[in-house]
Symmetry: C2
Subunit: 541 residues, 2 copies
C-alpha cells in the first residue's frame, strides 16, 4: 500500500506532492472480514491544502488502489500516463468522481510543474504496461523515484529500460541528489531475466498439451497475456479470456495503444463449442483468490466451461508469500479432477517484474546518487538495500512507515514521525486498524461467544431464569453436560444468592455473570469465551 | 495427520493393525480457535475390538500427536522403537495413561506378531532419530510401509539408509507385494542431500559471525541440533538450548542412547553472563509459531536474553507452506532490531528429511513391488507418484482419505469409502469439523455480530424499546449515524406496527428482527452481519 509524499518549503509549510496511493489485501489472521487495507492518510487529509498534485507511477493495486477511496478528501489534480490513467479513470468513475480528475501526460521530456517541484515521467519496464519512474526536480536538487521497475531490454509490451536515457538524467545539472528505489528483489542474487525469454518455453509447453489448457497470470501483466495468447494460437488453439480484471486490462491496453498485435480471442459462449484440444483459456486468480476464475473452475463449471481429466492448468506466476494456502487448495482440486498442474518451474514459465540485486546495483552505478532511500519491500529488504548502498559510500537510511526524512543535507535525517497506521475499508465504511472492531472479530473467532440475557423487575429481582445462547462453541462439555444448561444453572444459583447491592448495579452484575460464563466454560469445554451480558430492567411506568 | 489401517480376514471381520496416529495444526482461515486437528477416527473406535495393535513409525507430531488423545477409545498395545517410544510415553503420561502402554521394540530381525500380521521395524533415515519403515507380512503377501524417509548414508544421528538391508527385504520369500511410500518430495527433481553436508557450511557461517548467534530448526531434528551445537563450540561459543520441545527431544535422545557426543550446553541463567561473541542460542520456533522462543526473542527479552544490533539469526529450516506470514513477521522484527537474518540459502544451511523423486525411484527399483500406494503428500503429490509408478509398469492407485483398498489382487482396487473427516481438539473437547461450531466462529469473524434483545409483556406487547449491541462492527455508518441507534429505531417502528400474530410468534419475530438488522447494516455500513435475536416474554405468574 504505497503512498509517498515529497515536500519543499519552510518547516511545517512545505508544499507537497503525493506519489501513488495504493492498497493491500486483508487476511483472515489479522483482518478478517475487511475488504481492503490502505495507509492511514489522516495527516495528508489534514494537510490537503498544501498538496500541489498526485502522481501515479503505474496501475498495480498497491500503487493506485486507494485513489478512488481517498480522492474526495484530497481533491487535487492527478497525473498519470495513458494506460495507468485509463485504469484510474475507470476506478474514479465507479466511485462517482469525474474521469477528467486524472490528467494524462506524456513521458519525459514533458514536465509537470507542481509548486516548487517539476516532475517528469520516465518509462521503466515492469510487469504492467507503462510503469514509470519520476524525475522530481526541486530547488534542493534532483530526486529519482524509481517506482516499481526491472531492467528489461525487451518487455514485449511497453517501453524497454533505456540506459542512455538514465545516463542523461544522471548527467543533467548537478546530477541525482537522491535515489528512492524499489527494493523488492534485493535478496535475488542473479540478474533479472527479460519477459521475452518466456515466449519459447511457453510456446513449446502449450504445443505439447493435448487436452484443454488453462493458464493464469496477473491480469495486469498484459505482456504475459500476449505471450500466452500467441503461444496458444501457435499451437492451433482458440483463446478465451476469463475474468473481469483480465478484460479490463486488455481493453485499457488496447484503447490506449500500448498493446498492439494481441491475437483475437473468443467469448466463453463460443469456447464451449471448441474441441478441448483446440482451446486455451487465460484466467484470473493466479494467487488462489476464492472468487476468481481459476478457483471457480477448480470447484466445477464456470460460464459453462469445465476442466476434465487430461486437461492442463498452468500457473505462469509465482505465489506471493501468504497466498500459498489458496493456491495449493486449487492445485489439489485440479489434481483430484485428473488435471495436470504446471507451476512456474523455477522461472521457466514466469519472470519477476522487479530488479534483482545486480540490477539495483547497476542503477546505483548509472545514477550515482548522493543519497539512496530504499522503498517497496519489507523492513529486511530495505535494510539490505541500505547496506549495499552504504558499502559503496552512498548515504542511506531505512525509512519506516511514517518517517519524515530531511533530504537537503549530505546525509538523510529522520526529522519526524507521522502517525501512519492502517485504514480498513470494511463494507462501505473506513475503520482504523486500532479501533477495536477487527480485534472484536478475531476474539470471537478464537474464543467463541456466550450471550447472557437477564431481566430484573422494578425491585431489582430476577424475573425468570437467565437465558444463555452461544455461537462458535461446542454444545456439550467433556462430561457430556450441555454447556448452556450448566452456565444457566450456575447463574440462577448466583442470582438467588446475590445481595441487593449487586442486583441493583449493572456493572457488578455484568462482571459477575461474565465471570460465571467464563469459569463454567473453562471447566466444561476448556475455553474462555467472549461474553456479552444484556441486563434488562423493568421500570415503573 | 497420518493414520493408516491394514486389515486381513473375511470382509467386515478383518483383523486390523493401525500405523501412526498423528495431528495437524489449525489455521485462522479454516479452523480459528482450534488447538489441534486429527483424523476423524469414529470408524476405528467402532471397530476397536478388531484392532490387534498400534505401530508408531516415528515421533513427529503428524505421526504420533493423536495417540494420547485417542488411546482411551482404542486401548490396544502400542509398539515403537526406543526414542519414538520415549516421546510417546511422555505424552501418554501427561494424559494420565500408563507409560507401559507403549512397548519398546528392537528393529528387524525382531518381529512382532499381531493377529494375521507379522511386523518388523526397519531403520530409515529422516529428520528425526530412529524413523522406521515397517515390513508387514500377511498371508496375502509382504507390504513395505516406508514411513517418512530419505536416503541418507550419514544422517549424523540414527541409522543410515542401508540398501543391502532393503535388498534382502525384497529378496525374501515372494518379495514385496505392496510398497506404501512417502511422496512428500516427489516434485523435487534432484537426488536428496545428506544431513552430513551441512556441517561444513554451518561451521563456516557461525565462525564468521561476530555478535550473538541464534539458530532455529525443528526441535525434533536432533542431528541438526548436534551439528549446530558442534559448529558453535568450534567457533569458541557456549551453546544454550531454548524452548521446551528442544529440551524434551535432546533429553529423550540422550536417555535412549540415540544421541551421543552432543556438546555440553549451558542454561539461560548462565548464558546471560557470556559475552555476546562467545554465545550461541539454539531455539524453537522455526515455523514462526507465536509462542516459541524465536518469536518471543523477536518481541523483546526472553528468559533474560535479548537480541541486539550486530547479532545474527539463522533459520536452519524451510518454511512449511502456510507458515510464511509468521516467519516473515519474525524476520522483519529482527531486521528492525538491526539483527542479520540468514535463511537456508537454497539448502546450504538446511536439507529436507524426505526422499526426492530420484530417491523414490531408487526405492521402487530396489524393492520391485507389484503395487505402489503413494502416501504422505497432498493429492497432487500422490497423483504424481502414482504416475511415476505406472510408467514403470507398477500398478498404482491414489488412496484419498477414507478409501479402503483391496491389495490382494494384481491391481489395487478401492472397495469402500469410510467416513473420514477431521476432528478438532478445541479446549478440552473434541468437535467434528462439520459440526458448525467453527463455521459459527468464521462467520462472526467475517461478518461481525448484531445482538438484539426484545422483551414482550403478558399481552405480547413490547415492553420498552428493543436493545441492540454489536461486536466486530463499526460504530458509525457512512453518513456518521450511529449503527445501533439506526437499527433500534427501525425495530421500534416495526414493533409499533406489527400485528398480533407476528408479535405472538417467536419464529416470525426472530425472522423480522433479523431482516431489519441486516438491512439497516447493509445500508449504513455495507455489511450483512450475523444476528442473534433474544425475545423474552413475561408470563403471568
Amino acid at each position: 500500500m504505497n503512498a509517498y509524499v515529497y515536500g519543499y518549503g519552510p518547516a511545517g509549510k512545505e508544499r507537497l506532492i503525493v506519489v501513488d496511493l495504493g492498497v493491500t489485501f486483508p487476511d483472515m489472521d489479522s483482518s478478517p472480514g475487511v475488504d481492503l487495507i490502505m495507509a492511514d492518510l489522516a495527516w495528508l487529509e489534514d494537510n490537503a491544502d498544501r498538496i500541489e498534485a498526485i502522481f501515479i507511477t503505474h496501475a498495480h493495486e498497491d500503487h493506485i488502489g486507494a485513489l478512488a477511496h481517498v480522492w474526495n478528501k484530497l481533491r487535487k489534480p492527478v497525473f498519470a500516463r495513458a494506460f495507468t490513467g485509463r485504469i484510474g479513470q475507470l476506478k474514479l468513475e465507479e466511485a462517482g468522481i469525474p474521469a477528467e480528475t486524472i490528467q494524462i501526460v506524456e513521458p519525459r521530456p514533458h514536465a509537470i510543474d507542481a509548486g516548487p517541484f517539476t516532475v517528469q515521467f520516465v518509462p521503466v519496464s515492469h510487469s504492467i504496461p507503462e510503469s514509470s519512474a519520476l524525475v522530481i526536480d526541486t530547488p534542493a536538487g534532483r530526486i529519482v523515484h524509481t517506482g516499481d521497475f526491472k531492467l528489461d531490454g525487451n518487455p514485449i509490451v511497453g517501453e524497454p529500460f533505456d540506459p542512455i536515457l538514465w545516463h542523461e538524467i544522471a548527467q543533467e545539472g548537478e546530477g541525482v541528489k537522491v535515489l528512492v528505489s524499489d527494493s523488492t528483489n534485493v535478496f535475488s542474487p542473479a540478474p533479472g531475466r527479460s519477459e521475452a525469454t518466456l515466449a519459447e518455453p511457453l510456446t513449446k509447453l502449450i504445443a505439447e498439451q493435448t487436452g484443454m489448457i488453462v493458464a493464469t497470470t496477473f491480469a495486469s501483466n498484459v505482456a504475459r497475456l500476449k505471450t500466452l495468447a500467441e503461444a496458444g494460437v501457435a499451437a492451433g488453439r482458440s483463446v478465451c479470456l476469463l475474468g473481469r480484471a483480465m478484460k479490463r486490462m486488455v481493453g485499457a491496453a488496447q484503447e490506449t495503444g500500448v498493446l498492439k498485435g494481441m491475437p483475437g480471442t473468443i467469448p466463453p459462449e463460443e469456447a464451449m463449442d471448441v474441441p478441448r484440444g483446440n482451446l486455451m483459456l487465460i484466467v484470473t486468480g493466479s494467487q488462489g483468490e476464492r472468487r476468481a476464475a481459476s478457483a471457480q473452475l477448480s470447484r466445477g463449471k464456470y460460464l459453462g466451461l469445465e476442466m476434465k481429466e487430461g486437461d492442463s492448468f498452468l500457473f505462469s506466476s509465482k505465489t506471493i508469500p501468504g497466498n500459498e494456502r489458496g493456491v495449493i487448495r486449487i492445485m489439489n482440486a485440479y489434481s483430484e479432477m485428473g488435471v495436470d498442474v504446471i507451476d512456474d518451474h523455477d522461472g521457466l514459465y514466469h519472470v519477476s517484474g522487479h530488479a534483482n540485486r545486480p540490477d539495483l546495483e547497476a542503477v546505483h552505478d548509472l545514477l550515482r546518487p548522493k543519497i539512496l532511500i530504499p522503498m517497496h519491500g519489507e523492513h529486511r529488504h530495505l535494510r539490505e538495500h541500505a547496506k549495499i548502498a552504504q558499502a559503496k559510500g552512498i548515504a542511506s537510511e531505512v525509512a519506516t512507515n511514517g518517517s519524515m526524512i530531511d533530504l537537503t543535507g549530505t546525509v538523510p535525517k529522520v526529522v519526524e514521525y507521522i502517525e501512519a497506521g492502517r485504514t480498513y475499508i470494511d463494507g462501505s465504511v473506513k475503520i482504523g486498524a486500532m479501533d477495536g472492531v477487527v480485534r472484536g472479530r478475531i476474539r470471537m473467532a478464537l474464543n467463541g461467544l456466550v450471550l447472557v440475557t437477564v431481566i430484573l423487575d422494578e425491585q431489582d429481582q430476577p424475573l425468570g431464569d437467565p437465558w444463555v445462547q452461544t455461537m462458535g462453541l461446542p454444545k456439550q462439555g467433556r462430561g457430556g453436560a450441555i454447556l448452556i444448561d450448566q452456565i444457566e444453572d450456575e447463574m440462577s444459583d448466583f442470582l438467588n444468592r446475590a445481595p441487593a447491592k449487586v442486583l441493583s448495579n449493572d456493572e457488578k452484575m455484568d462482571e459477575a455473570l461474565r465471570r460465571i460464563a467464563r469459569q463454567v466454560s473453562m471447566e466444561e469445554i476448556g475455553k474462555k469465551p467472549e461474553v456479552i451480558v444484556v441486563t434488562s430492567r423493568l421500570v415503573d411506568e
